[in-house]
Symmetry: C2
Subunit: 338 residues, 2 copies
């Protein structure tokens, strides 16, 4: 029998960052495998979510990790140069390495050779299946309710909302399945395809395959992890391919309360919530028109009073149910989708 | 000095097909390299656009081709099994092979070995550059007028309209440049990136790079070849990434007159022209709102009278200039974009 995996999350520089550290944070909050340590040298000695933070791979070894997970994201998905030393150190210490960046470790001759020498695996979570193609139409025939999270921007909590809704639905006895479409979701759930790493012609085909598999895994309510945003200057193509390929019946529209500009893209304004609702509904597949069922606000930048005001304002503005599922619970948003 | 290339276009089964044979037809009509023969065994002995049609690679050799161009497209971009024999025959006859499918010839060990033995090149037009990334913002700073063709469906003439507008604009003395974004456009113009073969996260970045290069090549009016359609069930992600990355000032909306359903996807209706106009304008980058300047109708399924009626109906329906640039000339559409 294989020893259960114990994760060391490599989060150098970004352990507390909600954007670039979102893989680390997501796996800590929702992952099924135990996390035994987090590496971020500037915070060594602290803890996060009860997990000790260490400064080096050597320091982590006393917690007996089996696998080092790259817990950061970078714009463009490439490895910063200083990370190579960290990866070499993990491999040389006998740890498998799991990586969700666009740059594949197994394709790096030096790291591949080192991994072979130390008998560890290099797992590239974003590597797409080799046999992808365009959709077949199966997405429109699955007997399941499909709900996709969409949003005004990247890294505002679409995956988290899908996971919270899965938990809440299961607690009510609904056969809900989170459908992972990105590297963090895959690291959490142990299956999936990173649709942003797929050849663009096959994004919809990959999304179709994921909802088919989610149903095969027993899902009657499929909570598909959204990606990007429809008017994001860099990632909108991923968003739309995922929307059409996963063929949702309903959207949950996620938004970071108070934000008015695309993060990291100054001069690129966000659309208003009502405009986003209308745009998503208009561009949904004509063969399966989808409605926005609810607004999921991320209110972490606000105090409690301001958060409640933001929720009320979003409801007034859109006429839809709005809530912050992380802060105030998922019940009301769940009611809107089941 | 290198011998100028002379093309044999491999179009077995599809030489006359406007969809699957669109690469063959596009290169015949607009390519800069001479086409000396077309291969399609069922039509051997005929001619097309003045070019002799042959039944085998052997038959083609008397026309002294230097390069065989794969002139067909397949859904999903893979090679049908029967094509391998044709490719082996071309390579063994000493021809370079140029291929725009998703399946790369140079990655096929048998064909690569054969090509090395016969000292010919295997050129995969859809292979993306290795160093792509997300957009930098350069797309918004180029001092050129950017016009993107968009459409209600695939394979209805977006590339052709861009090429016709380039010709007409140059005839007026405008420094116009066609910007190729797909395999046929690349085979015609000799540069470009097939954005549908790019990792989906980098579609917008690739599109940005293309408009920057189009401007560097002297373009003051950039006529960007469109791809797919915003509500196409398979390819919409490519369309939207290209829209946002190329950052057009104006769209020309292409439509096959009379069609109401996505080709090859029964049960998937097209949006109406006014709905398409509104959707494209709504989803254009908030930092560069773009308008639809004109409708380019493809009226080849209609007789002349019905074609003129369709043009008039499209104008009445949208309030925009409409015309069929191939059938009736590009002047009116060009007037709407310069």
């Amino acid at each position: 029998l294989q020893q259960p995996e114990r994760l060391l999350i490599l989060a150098e520089g970004f352990s507390a960052d909600p954007h670039y550290g979102k893989t680390a944070r997501g796996v800590l909050a929702y992952g099924e495998r135990p996390v035994v340590a987090l590496l971020d040298s500037a915070r060594a000695g602290e803890t996060q979510s009860g997990v000790p933070i260490v400064g080096t791979v050597d320091d982590a070894l006393r917690f007996e990790p089996t696998t080092a997970l790259v817990g950061v994201a970078t714009a463009g998905g490439r490895f910063p140069a200083e990370w190579r030393e960290l990866l070499r150190s993990a491999i040389s210490s006998g740890l498998n390495v799991e990586n969700g960046l666009h740059e594949f470790l197994a394709d790096d001759p030096e790291l591949a050779e080192l991994a072979a020498r130390h008998n560890v695996e290099l797992r590239d979570l974003r590597r797409p299946p080799a046999d992808l193609n365009v959709p077949t139409g199966a997405n429109l025939t699955i007997p399941a309710q499909i709900v996709l999270t969409v949003g005004s921007d990247c890294a505002i909590g679409k995956m988290t909302v899908s996971l919270e809704l899965e938990r809440a639905a299961r607690a009510r006895g609904v056969e809900a399945r989170f459908v992972p479409t990105g590297q963090t979701g895959i690291a959490i759930a142990g299956w999936g395809i990173a649709v942003d790493a797929v050849v663009s012609d096959f994004v919809a085909g990959a999304a179709e395959r994921l909802v088919v598999e989610g149903h095969q895994r027993g899902g009657e309510l499929l909570l598909v992890e959204g990606q990007g945003a429809l008017t994001h200057p860099a990632y909108s193509g991923v968003t739309l391919g995922l929307m059409h390929g996963s063929a949702p019946h309903l959207f949950v529209l996620c938004h970071m309360a108070g934000e008015t500009e695309v993060e990291g893209y100054p001069g690129h304004p966000l659309l208003s919530l009502p405009d986003l609702v209308e745009l998503h509904e208009r561009i949904s597949l004509p063969a399966r028109k989808a409605k926005v069922a609810a607004i999921a606000l991320n209110t972490r930048l606000l105090d409690e009073r301001a958060a409640r005001d933001a929720v009320a304002a979003a409801e007034a503005e859109t006429g839809l149910v709005a809530d912050d599922p992380v802060r105030f619970g998922s019940a009301r948003v769940l009611d809107a989708i089941v």
